[in-house]
């Protein structure tokens, strides 16, 4: 599995005096099993971009290649593509409509034209995979809590067995605990099943801990496509784009500026803890 975005250009309001270039020559690759963070300020084009990944939007120029095939080719089976590239929209709980959680999760696999037995199996499996108890299957999705509803919506996409799971702002509106639980569930899914995950967010804290690679978007263009460490080292430039590095980066940078010998490249809480403790131990050892 490999997905290539090739020189995508997309404009809103074509043919009026308010043309907005949402994507401006965007190219990148998603590899198999990768956990990719896509970050950008509101209006940077990230939501527009993810809708291209499963061919919901057609670019004005450029194309997407999935396993080598151009997905905007006339005869390409885009319905199957949408099962392979599972896209979970922002606030996905707003798309729920069925009477029970189980029927809700069946919607995706059912649309793929599978036999009922297979659909049932996939649905139960998906409910389990997102960490919901099986008893919930017969309840109305509208009776659940916000966090649970969101899991149901994610399960309904997972039930189609996607090879890439794209989540647009999956933690928006969740409390810190719900956020951590959801993100670790996603990381766990990827670790156990080897699916690729694209995590779209405007929050560095969300992505820094988990992702292997970060793509930073600004005004419809890709500004950085690198490891979290390399991207966060540019935190001054990120600030100009209305973004910020994780808080620990700032603490480490400040410590370093104050003359304390820490490794300022840390981006996660664990790395920061280690380097600060090590510096502290060195200071005590030198008797200052």
């Amino acid at each position: 599995m490999k997905l290539i975005a090739d020189h995508l250009v997309y404009e809103y309001n074509r043919g009026t005096n308010q043309v907005v270039r949402a994507l401006d020559d965007v190219s990148f690759v998603i590899h198999s099993g990768e956990l990719l963070g896509l970050i950008g300020h509101t209006g940077s084009g990230k939501s527009t971009l993810v809708q291209h990944l499963n061919a919901l939007l057609k670019p004005d120029s450029g194309s997407i290649y999935y396993d080598g095939a151009d997905v905007f080719e006339k005869t390409y089976d885009r319905k199957t593509l949408r099962a392979r590239v599972g896209l979970v929209f922002q606030y996905p709980e707003h798309q729920l409509f069925e009477e029970t959680v189980f029927q809700e999760v069946c919607f995706g696999p059912h649309n793929m034209g599978l036999a009922q037995e297979q659909v049932d199996e996939l649905a139960y499996e998906a409910i389990r995979r997102v960490g919901l108890p099986e008893e919930i299957a017969d309840q109305s999705p509208f009776d659940l809590s916000g966090g649970q509803k969101r899991r149901v919506a994610i399960a309904s996409v997972l039930a189609m067995k996607p090879e890439i799971l794209v989540l647009d702002e999956p933690t928006a509106g969740l409390d810190p605990r719900g956020r951590d639980e959801l993100l670790s569930m996603i990381v766990e899914l990827r670790r156990k099943e080897g699916i690729s995950v694209v995590l779209v967010s405007h929050s560095m804290e969300d992505v820094a801990e988990y992702v292997d690679r970060i793509i930073v978007m600004d005004k419809g263009r890709i500004r950085y496509d690198d490891t979290p460490k390399a991207v966060f080292a540019q935190y001054r430039a990120l600030e100009e784009m209305g973004l910020a590095a994780p808080q620990v980066t700032y603490i480490l940078q400040d410590l370093k500026a104050a003359g304390i010998d820490v490794n300022a490249e840390g981006t996660t809480l664990r790395e920061a803890k280690e380097t600060i403790l090590a510096a502290y131990a060195r200071l005590r050892g030198s008797g200052k």
Partner: protein, 268 residues
């Protein structure tokens, strides 16, 4: 696809027509619409079309954008033309079996089509150049005399402005929900009529829920700001006539006079 709907939508631009007081535009549009139906001498349509073209050019709204507004009423237009053509009595031009087409019928159908097109384009100019808020302000101002007979003018205007304001929001929402369901493999295009109607359920249920949620939020927000109807309410930007509005009224009066002159065949 949903973004193509232009009825009631505002097209932002900086033009004389945009800057006119909404009351001027509302009354002028009404006068224009009435003028289309008062006279039925062919010459008047030339003047009416010319007048509209002038306004459209002044408004800086691209002509193509304007014409898009005709699409949804195309069916109505064809139906009217056909009916007029088939059921008007007069001098027979062509007949086959029970179908006869008369000279009067063709003429009548042609006038009807021209009238309808001008009517729709004329009202489109108003909505495209006036924001919904300003338009409802104008309606409220124009209807104010009705308060005497206890018509809840302010409430009607408020309901209209909320309804208008929610059209683009709900269209956006529908677009989003359709895409979300398509991402889950939904198919809205294929299948027979019943299958297609059933495929609307996954759109309509979330759309209704979201409409109620939004209505609830809005009611709460209005109450939190102590909204209690029209009494004693002032406006941040009260409507005020400027010189250009009086000039516009003068132009409209000239136009009406021209229509009357041609339509009543005063000089010949």
């Amino acid at each position: 696809m949903l973004r193509d709907i232009t009825i009631g939508q505002y097209y932002a631009a900086d033009s004389v027509i945009h800057r006119l007081d909404p009351r001027t535009k509302l009354l002028a549009t009404l006068a224009y619409l009435v003028s289309l139906f008062l006279f039925d001498f062919p010459g008047v349509y030339v003047l009416a079309a010319f007048f509209l073209a002038l306004v459209v050019i002044l408004s800086k709204v691209p002509f193509g954008y304007m014409v898009k507004g005709l699409k949804p009423v195309l069916f109505l237009l064809l139906f009217t033309v056909l009916m007029n053509m088939l059921f008007t009595k007069g001098e027979v031009l062509w007949s086959y079996w029970k179908i006869t087409i008369t000279k009067e019928g063709v003429m009548q159908a042609f006038y009807m089509a021209v009238r309808l097109i001008l009517l729709i384009l004329g009202s489109n100019v108003m909505t495209l150049t006036t924001t919904p808020t300003r338009l409802t302000n104008a309606i409220e101002a124009v209807m104010r005399p009705l308060k005497v007979i206890r018509v809840p003018v302010h409430e009607i205007a408020m309901m209209m402005s909320i309804a208008l304001r929610f059209i683009p929001i709900l269209l956006d929402e529908t677009d989003k929900i359709m895409k979300a369901q398509q991402a889950r493999g939904a198919d809205f295009e294929s299948g027979n009529f019943i299958q297609r109607a059933r495929s609307m359920v996954p759109i309509l249920v979330p759309l209704f829920i979201s409409a109620f949620r939004r209505a609830n939020d809005l009611a709460m927000a209005m109450e939190a700001r102590c909204y209690h109807g029209g009494r004693g309410r002032t406006q941040m930007k009260p409507l005020r006539y400027a010189l250009r509005d009086w000039l516009a009224y003068a132009v409209v009066l000239l136009y009406l006079a021209g229509m009357a002159v041609i339509g009543r065949r005063i000089f010949w």
